[in-house]
Amino acid sequence: MAESLQQTTVPQLATPHAERRTRPRWQQNLFALLYDPVTLISLIVLTAVIVMAVAAPVLTPHDPELQSLRLRTRPPFWLMNNEPGYPLGTDALGRDILSRIIFGARVSMLVGIGAVIIQGTIGVLVGLMAGFFGGWIDTVLMRLADIQQAIPFLILAVAVAAVVDQSLLNVIIVLGVAGWVPYGRVVRAEVLSVREREFVTAARALGSSNLRLIFTHILPNVAASITVISTLTISTMILAEASLSFLGLGVPPSTPTWGGMVAAGRDYLATAAWVSIIPGIAIFLTVLSINLLGDKLRALLDPTL
C-alpha cells in the first residue's frame, strides 16, 4: 500500500514548484480536500451539525419543548403568514422547528457516534480474533456473523427496540450490537493478509506474544479500513435512528429527534408540509455530507478498498 502511494507522487516530483515537492503528504491531501467544493460543503454542513449538537442550549432561540397552540403550524420565513422569531416555522403544537432541529442534531450525533463506537469495538475484536487465529475460532465467529446478517439490520433493530424500554442509551446499544458484522468481515480479511507479511513473522520470531502481535503490529495496519467503514456507517446509524423514531420506537417521544419530527408532521403534509420536510432536509444533508466525506476519505486512505 505504501509503495503504491509513493508511486502516485512520482509525477509530482517532476513539477517545477519546489514547495509542493517538500510538503508532507498529509498536507497535500488536506489541500486536495479543501479545493474540492463538494467536500468543502460537506465539511461545513457536518461542522455545523456538530456545533449544533454540542452547543444546542446556547444556540436555540426557544425552548424546544415549549408549546403554543396559538402559533401552531406557522410557516417558515420565506412563506406568507410567518411568525417573526420562528425562522423555520412551528409544528402542530406550536413548537419552534429551528430549536427542535438544533436539539435533534444532538440525538442524531450521539446515536451515530455512540452506535459506531459499539459496533466498531465488537466488530474489530471479532475480526482480529477470527483473522489472526483462524481455524475453529474463525469458523465459529464467521458463522455467527452469517446468522446475524441473515436478519435484516433494521428489522432486528425494530424488534429489539419494541421490546426494551424507550431510551437514548437503549437505541445506541440496539443499533451498536446489531451492526458489527461489516467491521468483523473487513477486519478479518485485512488481518488474513497482514499476518502473512514479513514484519509479523519477524516480530513473532523475536518472541512477541499473540496479544502484542495483534494490537501493536496488526491493528495499526488495518486502522485505515476501520476509519473508512466507521465514517460510512455513522450515516447509516443516523438514518436507522431516524427510522426508529419515525416508527415511534426510538427515544421517548418528548425528546426532539429528526425522525420523530418527520413522523409528527405526517398528518400535515397536505396543509403544513414544512413540519415534516424541514427535519427531512436536515437528515438528508447530514447523511449526504457524511457519505461524501466518507467516500473521499476512502479514496485518500485506501484506493483498493
Binding site: E65, L66, Q67, L69, R70, R72, T73, A92, L93, G94, G248, P252, P253, S254, R266, D267, Y268, L269, A270, T271
Partner: protein, 501 residues
C-alpha cells in the same frame, strides 16, 4: 418511438379510468380509525366495534338518529310492576342462520353477560337484571334488582344473539363468525385489514340498498383522508378540523358534521400515584388545563367545553355549572400548598387513531401541564393496546386520556359506572357520592333523581376525580353522492345509506 409514447399515454389514462369504472355501484367501503375488538357483541364495548355490529345485530328497542326510543325487535314494552318490564316481540323474525327469534333468545342474550366467567366488559351494566322470565314464545318479563327506570334505554344498546348458535359453537368461533338478525350478514373478517358484510335480503325492515359493505381500519388520519381522496374508500371517520378546507374545494367529496354524544376526559387514579390522591393536585390539573385553547386552535372551534364529565343533553346535568377557568397561577399555588411546588411527574396512557386528533390533544395537555411544573410521561398506545389496558384497569398508569359515549343520556351511565361502582377504572371511592348515585338509580321519581344528581355533580366538581375536557364534533368525510347523515352516537348504519343516481 411515437407509437410507444402514445401507447404509454393510453396505458396511463387507462390506469386512471379503470378503477373507477370497475367500482360496483352498490358496494361501499368505510374507513374507521380502528378495527373491531371482537365480533361477539357481549365481549366488546367500544364505539367503532358497536358501529360495525349494529349492522349485523338488532336491539329490542331502537334508538333513532335523533335519540328517541322506538320499537325494534320488541313491538311494545311496559312497566307492569316497580321492578318488572314486559316486552312483546315481533313474530316471524329469523337470524341469518335460519333460527327463529323467540323469547328464549332474549332470555339468553340478557342473562349471558351475568356469568362472570364470560369476562364481558358489560357485566356490571347487566347486573341490574335479576332474572328474565319467558312468558310465551313472544313475551318476556325482565325483573330488575331494584326499580330501574333506564331499562328501555339500556335495551336500546344490547344486541340480541341467537341462543342455539351460541350454545352449539365454541366461543372463539362465535366471536369471529357473528350471526344476528341485522340488515347485513357477516362474510369475512381479516383482522387489521378488512371486514366484509353482504345485504340480508330477508331483513325484517326491508332489504337494504347497498349490497356489499367493507369496513377498513386505517388508524393514520392522513392516510384515511388520502384513501378517500383517491377513491379507495367512500366514507371516513374523524377528519381533522384543519383539513376541512380541502373538502370545500373538492367537487365529489363532502364533510358531514354532527355534535357527538362523546366527551373526552382524563381519568386520575390516586391509588397509583399518591400525589393524585390529593384533591388540591387534581384541582390544580383542572386549572392548568386550557380547554378553550385546544378547541379553538386544534379543532378550529368545533367542540364545546364541559364542566363535569357528562355530555350536553344528559338527564341530571345542570348545564349552568361553569367549567374551571384556565388559571395557571392558581394551579401553581395549589401544587405548592400540596407540597409539589418543585414539580411533579405523572404518567399518562393515551390512544392514537380512535378520537379526533387524539395524539395531539394528549401532547397539548402535556404541554399545558408542563407550564405549571407537571411533567407528563406520555404513553401513546395503539387503540387495541389502550383498550386492553383500560379493560384490565390495573394495567393503566395513573392517568388516562379517553372518551365516553353516553348511550342512555342519563347521568346514571357515567356517574354509576365511573365513580359509584367499585372497582371503577380510576379506583375512586367516595361513600357520599356512591350513596347519592345508588339512590338516584333506583328511584322512579324523576324530580328526586335530578336533585340527587345535582348533589352528586357538586361533589364531582369539587373533587375532580377526572379532568373534564370537551365534547367534540364528529367530522365525517364522504363521497358527495352518498345519501347519509351521521348519527351523534358514532354508529354507522349502512342500511340508511343510499347512492344518488
Amino acid at each position: 418511438m411515437k407509437h410507444l409514447r402514445l401507447l404509454a399515454v393510453i396505458a396511463f389514462a387507462l390506469l386512471l379510468v379503470v378503477p373507477t369504472a370497475a367500482q360496483d355501484e352498490s358496494s361501499i367501503t368505510i374507513a374507521l380509525g380502528t378495527d373491531a375488538a371482537s365480533l361477539d357483541p357481549q365481549l366488546q364495548n367500544d364505539a367503532f366495534t358497536t358501529s360495525i355490529l349494529s349492522n349485523i345485530f338488532d336491539t329490542l328497542i331502537y334508538r333513532t338518529a335523533d335519540l328517541a326510543l322506538e320499537p325494534g325487535l320488541a313491538t311494545d314494552w311496559e312497566l307492569i310492576e316497580d321492578t318488572t318490564w314486559e316486552l312483546t316481540l315481533q313474530e316471524g323474525i329469523t337470524f341469518h342462520n335460519g333460527e327463529a327469534l323467540t323469547a328464549a333468545d332474549v332470555e339468553f342474550s340478557l342473562e349471558r353477560p351475568l356469568d362472570e366467567s364470560l369476562g364481558s366488559p358489560l357485566t356490571s351494566r347487566f347486573r341490574v337484571i335479576e332474572d328474565v322470565e319467558v312468558v310465551n314464545d313472544f313475551t318476556v318479563r325482565v325483573h330488575t334488582v331494584n326499580p330501574y327506570p333506564l331499562l328501555p334505554a339500556r335495551l336500546s344498546e344490547w344486541f340480541i344473539i341467537p341462543q342455539d348458535y351460541f350454545e352449539a359453537n365454541d366461543p372463539a368461533f362465535v366471536s369471529e363468525n357473528p350471526v344476528g338478525t341485522g340488515a347485513y350478514r357477516f362474510v369475512e373478517w381479516v383482522r387489521d385489514d378488512h371486514l366484509d358484510l353482504v345485504a340480508n335480503e330477508d331483513y325484517w325492515r326491508g332489504a337494504p340498498e347497498i349490497q356489499n359493505v367493507r369496513f377498513r381500519p386505517i388508524p393514520e388520519t392522513s392516510t384515511r383522508v388520502a384513501a378517500l381522496q383517491a377513491g379507495d374508500v367512500d366514507l371516513i371517520t374523524n377528519v381533522p378540523a384543519f383539513r376541512q378546507a380541502e373538502f370545500e374545494t373538492a367537487d365529489n367529496l363532502e364533510i358531514r358534521t354532527v355534535p357527538s354524544t362523546f366527551f373526552q376526559y382524563v381519568g386520575l387514579d390516586g391509588t397509583k400515584n399518591e400525589a393524585l390522591a390529593d384533591v388540591r393536585v387534581r384541582q390544580a390539573l383542572q386549572y392548568a388545563t386550557n380547554v378553550p385553547e385546544i378547541i379553538e386552535f386544534l379543532f378550529d372551534g368545533s367542540g364545546a367545553q364541559i364542566a363535569v364529565p357528562l355530555a350536553f343533553g344528559t338527564f341530571g346535568l345542570d348545564e349552568s355549572i361553569e367549567p374551571y377557568p384556565y388559571d395557571p397561577d392558581r394551579a401553581r399555588e395549589l401544587l405548592a400548598e400540596a407540597g409539589y411546588g418543585d414539580g411533579l411527574t405523572i404518567a399518562m396512557d393515551a390512544p392514537t387513531g380512535r378520537y379526533a386528533q387524539d395524539r395531539e390533544v394528549a401532547e397539548a395537555l402535556a404541554g399545558q401541564w408542563a407550564q405549571v411544573g407537571i411533567t407528563v410521561d406520555l404513553n401513546i398506545n395503539a387503540w387495541a393496546d389502550q383498550l386492553a389496558r383500560y379493560r384490565d384497569g390495573d394495567a393503566l398508569v395513573e392517568t388516562h386520556f379517553m372518551g365516553w359515549g353516553t348511550s342512555t343520556f342519563d347521568a346514571d351511565d357515567v356517574l354509576f359506572s365511573a365513580f359509584a361502582n367499585r372497582p371503577n377504572k380510576t379506583n375512586y371511592i367516595n361513600d357520599e357520592l356512591t350513596e347519592l348515585v345508588t339512590t338516584a338509580r333506583t328511584s322512579l321519581d324523576q324530580e328526586e333523581r335530578a336533585e340527587l344528581y345535582g348533589q352528586a355533580l357538586a361533589i364531582i366538581y369539587e373533587e375532580v376525580p377526572w379532568i373534564s375536557l370537551f365534547q367534540q364534533f364528529d367530522i365525517y368525510g364522504v363521497r358527495s353522492d352518498l345519501n347519509w347523515q351521521p348519527r351523534p352516537d358514532q354508529k354507522i348504519e349502512v342500511r340508511t345509506i343510499s347512492i344518488e343516481s
